[in-house]
């Protein structure tokens, strides 16, 4: 066997401070007495990386006030001036992308090849893309005098910390809003690094504020009376609470929530490429992807062939040290998430689905879960209905295109879907009937700043990315 020697990326390229304050009004500040501190750990080793501050109500007040003070002058800048700052941020993110990629992999557990080759290039691309819109808002199709909303409260998840930050901050700033962003409590480091990027770009104080903390900090932020707009990406459960708290206020709201995407393989699909797409659909980022293709629907006539090829391919996935450049699957982000994945997988086995993982040795320290597929799954299984948010694939079958569409749509969610077939007319016909925000054809999990992204039903509302992404930040 051709064994690859370890090829670890050096963690010395990035400095991690022992403790971090909050980024408010252009400065790192200590939290007020109402706050506290929490630790962020490397999920691959359980090593404590840094102590991070919990923002309490007073801190959130200060951050929102700073954003409010900055909002007037920032929105009054000509679009081309705001664009300059965004371009500058984009370039700094590119220049410092190696540091950021290592930091992201350390804090999140994702493989360096994904943070380096996917997350960071896309994050920079979002800033570049929205920088381009900043002076063209009147031509975006939202009236001839689109106005910013004011202060945006943004709460982002732990699966793509830097990329979600870019998705949120870039369009908000381009449209003349100021922001208070709360990163997830398990992955705050790249957002705090980004605070330094803002200083390096000489962004006016208060335009971007970063408050760290857990759910309570997020709740304080979205419920704050001084906020004009709430943007949330995360679980459907929290999304529901936010929708309730925002209901009846003048605040605008966009939600990007969970998903249980169907990935449909027709019998005329390019099998080898479909298998790659299935793998990319569910094992990319350890399956911590809201649009992951977690329900595989295979046409019965090619079922055996696809499953055999999929298992063969899964056996080549390399699970382990996220900083090794050859690692395909890294660590599960937290002990809590690992427990959830285990619980749901055990339920799958108990309900009679057949569980399979390739032989693979998992590290003793840290949070790990082997790539897993369940065959013999039906619509009645919980693993076919609930979002697992981990490297676990449920495989179902179908006989006709109509049945595939029916099963694909039979879910409370509707974020994404995939179609695999060599027949162009089939792609168009099926895509038209799938109730999902994104439908990929002969590919999966591909993102681009020019392409809007968002959901149907319990996957949330509003669109991020593309021209449509501007709308959520304009009056």
């Amino acid at each position: 066997m051709f064994e690859y020697a370890p090829a670890p990326e050096s963690r010395s390229v990035v400095d991690i401070a022992p403790s971090y304050g909050l980024f408010i009004d252009g400065e790192f500040v200590s939290p007020a007495s109402s706050g506290g501190v929490f630790k962020t750990v490397n999920p691959a080793t359980e090593e404590v990386l840094a102590e991070v501050s919990t923002a309490g109500p007073e801190d959130v007040d200060r951050a929102v006030a700073a954003a409010r003070r900055a909002a007037g002058p920032w929105s009054a800048l000509p679009g081309a001036e705001r664009a300059k700052y965004l371009f500058r941020i984009a370039r700094i993110v590119q220049e410092r992308s190696r540091e950021l990629a290592v930091l992201e992999s350390l804090d999140n557990g994702k493989p360096i090849r994904e943070s380096r080759d996917v997350d960071l290039p896309l994050a920079a691309a979002h800033f570049f893309y929205y920088a381009g819109w900043a002076d063209k808002l009147r031509h975006a199709g939202f009236g001839d005098n689109p106005r910013p909303l004011g202060v945006a409260a943004q709460v982002i998840p732990w699966n793509f910390p830097m990329l979600m930050l870019a998705w949120k901050i870039a369009p908000a700033l381009a449209t003349g809003n100021t922001v208070v962003l709360k990163p997830a409590e398990t992955t705050p480091l790249s957002a705090l690094f980004f605070a330094d990027v803002c200083r390096q770009a000489e962004l006016p104080p208060g335009v971007v504020n970063i408050v760290t903390g857990a759910g309570e900090t997020g709740r304080t932020l979205v419920e704050h009376a001084g906020v004009d707009k709430v943007a949330f990406t995360g679980s459907t459960e929290v999304g529901r609470q936010i929708a309730r708290s925002v209901a009846g206020t003048r605040k605008r709201l966009t939600l990007e929530l969970g998903g249980k995407a169907a990935n449909i393989v027709f019998d005329d699909a390019p099998i080898d490429q479909a298998v790659e797409g299935i793998v990319n659909g569910i094992f990319f980022n350890q399956g911590h992807v809201c649009c992951a293709g977690s329900r595989l629907l295979i046409q019965e006539s090619v079922y055996d062939e696809v499953i055999e090829a999929l298992k063969r391919r899964m056996a080549t996935l390399r699970v382990g040290d996220p900083l090794d450049k050859n690692t395909d699957i890294g660590a599960i982000n937290s002990a809590e998430q690992l427990a959830r994945i285990r619980t749901l997988s055990d339920i799958g086995a108990e309900e009679g689905a057949e569980r399979w993982s390739p032989p693979c040795e998992l590290p003793a320290q840290g949070f790990w879960f082997a790539p897993t597929i369940f065959t013999g799954v039906t619509q009645a299984h919980r693993i076919a209905r609930e979002e697992i948010f981990g490297p676990v694939l449920s495989v179902l079958t179908f006989r006709t295109p109509a049945e595939a569409i029916e099963k694909a749509n039979n879910t409370p969610y509707g974020l994404s879907a995939g179609i695999w077939t060599e027949k162009g007319s089939q792609i168009l016909a099926v895509a038209d009937k799938l109730r999902a925000g994104v439908v990929w054809a002969n590919t999966f999990n591909k993102f681009d700043p020019t392409s809007p992204f968002g959901g149907y039903k319990e996957s949330g509302y509003g669109r991020e990315g593309g021209r449509h992404g501007l709308e959520a930040y304009l009056a």
Binding site: M1, F2, E3, Y4, A5, P6, A7, R113, D117, D268, A269, P270, I271, D272, Q273, E276, G277, T316, K325, N326, E422, N442, T443
Partner: protein, 316 residues
Amino acid sequence: MTATTTSRLSDLSDSSFSLRSFLHGLPGVDKVGVEARAAALGTRSVKTSAKAAAIDLAIRMVDLTTLEGADTPGKVRALSAKAVRPDPADPGCPGVAAVCVYPAMVPVAAEVLRGTGVHLASVATAFPSGQAPLDVKLADTRDAVAGGADEIDMVISRGAFLAGRYDHVFDEIVAVKEACGSAHLKVILETGELGTYDNVRRASWLAMLAGADFIKTSTGKVPVAATLPVTLVMLEAVRDFRARTGRQVGVKPAGGIRTTKDAIKYLVMINETVGDDWLDPDWFRFGASSLLNDLLMQRTKIATGHYAGPDYFTLD
């Protein structure tokens, strides 16, 4: 794999209709997908001990090739000597898999290679165009085998393939295979002229059904030679073919592979798509002329910690 499957597959050649139906019924190849997969495999980081092992394996897989109109016996003798002993400074350096020459040069190379374990390959069958009558191709093949070649690299008639005359291509391969006797037959698809990955997969299956021992990408005489995605499609074809028939067929990318870095990408691709069984000179070859010296240079770098200039390695 069953005997019935094998005989059913061989029945395919009975009519051009069934052969065509079979080849066009193979799963399609998505261009974007296969190119993305090949590019992703190319990003593996192969360092230190893994790199050293890969370099030695790659050297053992080289078909050291000279296919110039200007080839002389002197040139072929020099190349053959180098094939046996690639690095005179290091007796631990393995020899290459084979020397590949035009049929006229076979007796010259045979003299040097006899008893060394290095195979002797010859490009017969009106290489590189394949545009000659079948009897000329067969005579070419028999000459090369009689002269001492134990591997024959034949070209398919791309014209006939592209015109959809699959049975014609099939019959030619069968006839050449027969003329090879005990020599191994490598069938050159000239993928740069086939236009699509679907055609590459069909041509691979066609060659294997007709009895090819190896399928090879290119002659090295057209602008587009071996590429990673094309080789990936061919590897998938030999893997699927073995799963259906039980017969293993080798793969040989040729043309344009010049650096150690490139060669390692191919080894990674084998490792992660068809696996161990093909990581062997019996089942995978590099058709190359300049690759060897780069492999030797990198090999010395690993051993000594510094790069030696080109003059520290032999010309061929």
